[in-house]
């Protein structure tokens, strides 16, 4: 008789290098299996940043589609200890689960063609959230436009038809709303390496290149402003922006630190943006 396959998520999974590394390592371990049911053990997990449901959801979907895996877990335990995963729509329950704390921004996935769905989500779920800073109309417009641009860029650069995953969480004690966006494409480097004729040849430099105001990978077109505008906004507001692509974890906050380059031993796919809106 086959033994049960159990994978653990343990300790704390925060929106930082260490937390994301834990999820990448989970993906790496699970991706060695095919046509199996994997039991996910949450018993030793103390904390899970709920916005990372976007990344975790993308991992489970990818493993389900590509490795024909199924997942099981102790749902009752999750309902008792990680009810936020029900409140944000990551997990479904027969009983009615309301987000009374109003701390979640729903977990959703969008087809890359679904610009209307994504824009409506950003306008109605994200920007109206109680955890968002008091934004001027101009700031609001800039943020929406930048997020739209990131979304639309995925259509061109990611070379994938896989959905795009989003989720947010407001942390009242820290006065921060963190919003995560995940695509399952090829990441930043291939198109940028091609565009720069190999001058940019690693993930860290590719991220820095993509953050420049006029850079674009499209031949014969002027550059975009999405990441540049987001980086500028979070720089001005003492928030943070994290970009994870290839083997690299980049963060606006870390750019002023001595150690600014962090690399994953088991990289995932595509790219992840984590936006940290500081409540003013």
């Amino acid at each position: 008789m086959d033994s049960k396959i159990v994978l653990h998520l343990s300790d704390n999974i925060y929106t930082n290098f260490s937390g994301i590394k834990r999820l990448f390592d989970f993906y790496k371990t699970a991706s060695d299996y095919y046509n199996e049911t994997i039991y996910i053990d949450f018993y030793h997990l103390n904390w899970f940043d709920a916005n990372l449901s976007a990344l975790f959801g993308s991992i489970l979907a990818k493993l389900t589609n590509e490795n024909n895996l199924k997942f099981s877990t102790d749902l009752k335990y999750l309902e008792e200890h990680f009810d936020v995963l029900y409140r944000n729509g990551f997990l479904r329950s027969d009983s009615v689960v309301s987000d009374e704390q109003q701390s979640t921004v729903s977990f959703k996935s969008f087809s890359i063609e679904d610009k209307d769905g994504f824009i409506n989500y950003v306008e109605n779920d994200l920007l109206t959230h109680r955890g968002m800073p008091n934004l001027t109309e101009d700031e609001k417009d800039n943020i929406i436009d930048s997020l739209i641009e990131v979304f639309c860029n995925i259509q061109i650069h990611s070379k994938t038809d896989e959905p795009f995953y989003v989720c947010g969480q407001y942390y009242p004690k820290q006065g921060v709303l963190t919003f995560s966006m995940v695509d399952l494409g090829v990441g930043f480097l291939p198109a940028i390496k091609n565009k720069t004729k190999g001058v940019v040849n690693n993930d860290y430099d590719a991220i820095k290149w993509a953050l420049e105001k006029k850079n674009t990978t499209k031949v014969g077109r002027p550059g975009g402003l999405g990441l540049f505008d987001l980086n500028t906004y979070f720089g001005k507001t003492n928030g943070d922006l994290q970009i994870i692509t290839g083997d690299t974890f980049w963060s606006l906050e870390l750019e002023n630190a001595v150690m600014k380059k962090f690399h994953f031993p088991n990289p995932y796919v595509g790219s992840i943006l984590n936006l940290f809106f500081k409540y003013k």
């Binding site: 800039n142 739209i148 641009e149 639309c152 290149w209 850079n215 002027p222 402003l225």
Partner: protein, 107 residues
Amino acid sequence: MNINVLDIIKSEFATNLTDGSVLFEAIKSYKPSEITISFNGIRRISTLFLNECIGQYAMNNPATINDLKFEYPADKENFSLKVEDVIENALLGDEYDTFVDNALLSM
């Protein structure tokens, strides 16, 4: 001649590459002095969209692009800033790319 973006892309969100290509196809055969591009009824635009239509059009018409006229919705003043930025980016073009490439080479 008035070119209404809403009529052409059939969406109030002028955001993606396809929308931009459709608008570019609609304007590319006109001289800048012959058309006014109207954004009335458009709620969202992205620079990605603008790059694809106005940016590309500016690159094809660098000497006369200033003759191109625009109409914007009353509550969307920032549309004009984005359009100006995209035109400026387009006209900097290769000069800027060369500057960035040289800077990277010297790193």
